[in-house]
């Protein structure tokens, strides 16, 4: 890939080797915190004071301790369920709106587009107080729906999908129309499969941001069974005080899923993030 932009071809110069070594060393430095986290999660409490990177007697005891009371499993399931539901909602509604704004001609289209786009200017933090009041009035406080409702659709996702649907040729849609498909079927069966790269980018971004979301779940939940993983981890860490090996185990559990998925789908995810970042 880098062959395209590589300015010097073939010859290996000492400067390039030095640059490579520095880049590689920097990269290792970047993952050091993660490596220490995982290494420490495998140590027993007597070992955490000696700073040997590798545990002398690797053990999964910390994982057993952390997982045994079931709280982490619950938080894990909460985070997974919430992130999945919000992602599905975003993938469906953001593409539906993006498609409508890209492919339909009707009065008010531009107004709707500008209105949705303008919500990008409003920071979430400004809305948390009204959302909290709203959730309180509707009895949504301390519920899954209460955690999920603010993120069910996003202007970012809508804008991203609109950009992509604009590249879908109208002829495809017209052909389907001639075949007698209704408009929803055209969207669902013809247009949507043509923008799968954008859909996966949107799905990755939405899932990741909901998996790591902190402030709103922290505000809206009070009972521990409803905590998401980041909020649960915070409460756990405060409780565990100086038992760093247990805190590191909790942190490792929160980080493992996203890292594993990334290692499996690396190319896809990097491309998705670039797509979402540049087009959105």
């Amino acid at each position: 890939m880098s062959a395209i932009a590589s300015p010097v071809s073939g010859r290996i110069e000492p400067g390039r080797i030095l640059a490579w070594l520095l880049l590689f060393g920097g990269g290792l430095l970047m993952v050091t915190p993660l490596a220490f986290m995982f290494a420490t999660s495998l140590k027993d409490s007597s070992e955490i004071y000696d700073l040997a990177f590798f545990p002398a007697h690797p053990t999964l005891d910390n994982y057993v301790t952390v997982l045994s009371d079931g709280r982490f499993l619950r938080w894990f399931a909460n985070s997974f369920g919430i992130a999945t539901a919000v992602t599905l909602s975003n993938v469906f509604f953001d593409s539906l709106v993006g498609y409508t704004l890209a492919k339909f001609q009707f009065r008010g289209r531009y107004l709707v587009f500008i209105a949705i786009l303008s919500t990008l200017m409003i920071p979430t933090e400004m809305l948390v107080i009204p959302w909290y009041v709203m959730a309180k009035n509707f009895g949504w406080l301390d519920s899954y729906w209460g955690i999920m409702f603010p993120g069910m659709m996003t202007a970012f996702g809508t804008f991203l999908m609109k950009q992509f649907f604009e590249t879908v040729p109208n002829d495809f849609l017209e052909a389907a129309r001639v075949d007698g498909l209704n408009e929803f079927a055209i969207f669902w069966r013809i247009a949507l499969p043509l923008v799968t790269p954008a859909l996966s980018a949107l799905a990755i971004f939405t899932f990741l941001s909901n998996w790591t979301a902190f402030i709103w779940p922290l505000i809206v939940t009070t009972s521990k069974e409803l905590y998401t993983l980041p909020v649960g981890l915070t409460s756990y860490a405060v409780e565990a005080q100086v038992q760093w090996e247990l805190i590191m185990t909790g942190a490792a559990l929160a980080t493992l899923p996203t890292l594993t998925v990334f290692l499996l789908l690396q190319r896809y995810i990097v491309r998705g993030v670039v797509l979402a970042g540049l087009k959105g």
Binding site: M30, F104, L127, E183, L233, Q266
Partner: protein, 311 residues
């Protein structure tokens, strides 16, 4: 969900009488019905309400009392607010340039690397996928005094005096900022790499035939053509640093005191909003703070639009 099928079925004959163009309009509004409701109720109405609440005194228990601009006057006279405003500004003016320059240098060199390119990129990108709340605890552990903390042990090994890090009013803010920069760096590297890729190779070839030195190529070709990428990343990361919360909350929370310490040295605006609203339940005052945050972010967005138009 039911709207469009309902319209399509119940309208039976009426539907048949519509022209193709009119049918399209009906479909469009049917598709938009639920989203319009959502944006109205969950985005626009709360925005207006935030402004309204900012003009009241309200503790959620008793009905809100209209106080006009009193909350904003109180804000201007509040030394904690100015401290917090200064902190937020520091997060922004240190975080954005440091992370952008680092990311550009890394991407610029990584772009020329072929050997293990994907692997090295993955190393830089991995922290971006972590949960900030979890990583904050890892870094917090690193900052502990000896014999626990990694950094102080390294310093001790080098014979350098121990540092208080999170316990110091001057070192705590950069100490909290470091994991935020660390976690965001990979994203910026990847975006810069994509930006560099998008520059046509012919430009470079032409410059090289003309005998331009590498530094001149960087200044005259690479950087100007990267301007849209740079503007995007400056705005994206500025907004991120202005809204910093997860790291501060998790790295400075104490059993004895509220997060944001020592002595408010690390407290950013979003944490102040959180505490005013959800620890003190001083909703009006907190809403006034969110209005300030909104105005700051609005200025940055407008600046971006302005810069992009000048292109």
């Amino acid at each position: 969900m039911t709207t469009y099928t309902d319209v399509a079925r119940s309208g039976g004959r009426l539907w048949q009488g519509l022209s193709l163009q009119q049918k399209q309009v009906v479909w469009a509004w049917a598709f938009l019905a639920v989203p319009i409701l959502f944006y109205g109720l969950i985005r626009f109405y709360p925005t207006v309400e935030a402004f309204v609440i900012s003009t009241t005194k309200w503790n959620l228990m008793t009905p809100p009392v209209f106080v006009g601009l009193a909350n904003f006057e109180r804000l201007l006279a509040d030394p904690v607010f100015w401290k917090v405003f200064g902190n937020t500004f520091l997060y922004l003016v240190i975080g954005t340039p440091v992370s952008l320059i680092l990311a550009f240098v890394i991407a610029y060199h990584l772009d020329r690397v072929r050997f293990m390119h994907g692997f090295i990129r993955a190393l830089y990108f991995l922290p971006f996928l972590t949960t900030a709340a979890a990583m904050a605890w890892v870094w917090r552990w690193f900052y502990q005094p000896v014999p626990i903390g990694l950094f102080n042990n390294l310093l001790a090994g080098l014979g350098i005096a121990q540092q208080p890090f999170l316990r110091s009013t001057t070192q705590a803010l950069p100490a909290v900022l470091a994991p935020a920069i660390w976690a965001g760096l990979g994203f910026q590297v990847v975006i810069f790499l994509a930006g560099l890729r998008a520059i046509p190779t012919t430009y470079y070839e032409a410059a090289r035939i003309d005998g331009l030195p590498e530094l001149a190529i960087l200044r005259k070709i690479t950087l100007p053509l990267l301007k849209p990428t740079i503007i995007f990343l400056v705005v994206f990361s500025s907004i991120g640093f202005l809204r910093i919360f997860d790291q501060v909350y998790n790295m400075t929370s104490q059993t004895s005191s509220d997060p944001g310490g020592p002595l408010n040295a690390t407290k950013p605006l979003v944490l102040m909003i959180y505490q005013t609203a959800f620890s003190s339940f001083d909703m009006g005052y907190a809403a006034a703070q969110t209005v300030v945050l909104f105005l700051v972010l609005l200025c940055i967005s407008l600046l971006q639009l302005r810069l992009l138009r000048d292109r």
